[in-house]
Amino acid sequence: MNETNIYFDNAATTKMHPKVLEKMLPYLTDNYGNASAVHSFGRKARVAIEDSREIIADFINADPGEIYFTSGGSESNNFIINGIAKTEFSESGRNHLITSKSEHHAVLHTFEKLQKEGFTAHFIDVDEDFIPTLENINTGINNSTSLISLMLVNNETGSLFDLSKIKNKNLYIHTDAVQGFGKIQIDVKKLGVDALSASAHKLYGPKGIGIAYVKSGTPMESFILGGGQERNRRAGTENVASIVGFA
């Protein structure tokens, strides 16, 4: 048996940091309250969630009210793309969506599903360095384009794309930032994006927790229906320990 144990697959997932586990443990044991409850058990959970939301919002120069907790990067991508595409269509009639051929399948398959539902989707080519060119982006945009979704860092090749180069402000811009979040500086305002997806387990956090940043005022319907959690956009009792672990 080989004694060597070298892990060079950190883009797949990372080892959880011991400090993360330490922060999470109280919320898996004694602090088990439902954050929607009025009693002290619930309030402890609520405070932990909102503190975490603030830390994450600060980290990307967003407001806490613009951060939604999800089950991970894939859900955030589904949530944002579906939500913006459908709400924008019902509000303005715009039904055209743009992405690139080198996105994660969580994005590509969501686009394909929307195509089947009647949206038109344009999948742009990438150059020899796996980066979408501005020329391809600009020729893809038309008057009915509501949303463009392009990843910040490609998960397979590591290619970086600077979304601030997209100057067309008449559409919503989403970025799958799963491979960039916590690794390169992200300021959502400088980047000029309306929505962003990220996941905790790519940066020493627990699996099963992610965020969707959605700029205030962005038209977006809810994804999971039920209780009023996450400002009515993502129902379900909050995963308190994981949320704390993410932050």
């Binding site: 080519d125 998960n155 090749t157 290619s159 690794k183």
Partner: protein, 128 residues
């Protein structure tokens, strides 16, 4: 975050330099040279010279205690060429010869050296 970034940057540079010194430039093709994150190193064994079988290489690496990944997405037991590599206009063969090494700040230069040693010996066997 900045310390981690600097650490993985030097790891990736070290890894890339070692690859360049151990192999001819046209044998190992580094992907996304122009602008990429230091956290991910993607390269391809030139299919003109090597059998494109990243899965076999990954299994060999694993036997030697190294966990890495390929550019291929494994779906329901079948290995399809990576849609990302194909999207850039490269061939399925090219995609199937692609490997991905992704770093964290706890990885060491020693680990890179060991990996390069193993890779250098192993890749010989994949020569056409």
């Amino acid at each position: 975050m900045e310390d981690n970034f600097n650490k993985v940057s030097s790891l990736k540079t070290y890894f890339t330099d070692k690859l360049k010194s151990n192999f001819d430039d046209d044998n190992i093709l580094i992907n996304s040279k122009r602008n990429s994150t230091p956290y991910i190193l993607s390269f391809t064994l030139n299919p003109d010279f090597y059998k494109s079988d990243s899965q076999a290489i990954l299994m060999n690496l694993d036997v030697n205690g190294i966990a890495a990944s390929s550019g291929s997405a494994c779906a329901s037991g079948t290995v399809k060429p990576s849609h990302v590599i194909l999207a850039s206009g490269k061939s399925a063969e090219y995609a199937n010869g692609t490997l991905r090494f992704s770093f964290n700040a706890e990885n060491t230069f020693k680990e890179v050296e060991y990996t390069i040693d193993i890779l250098t010996r192993m890749i010989e066997k994949f020569k056409k």
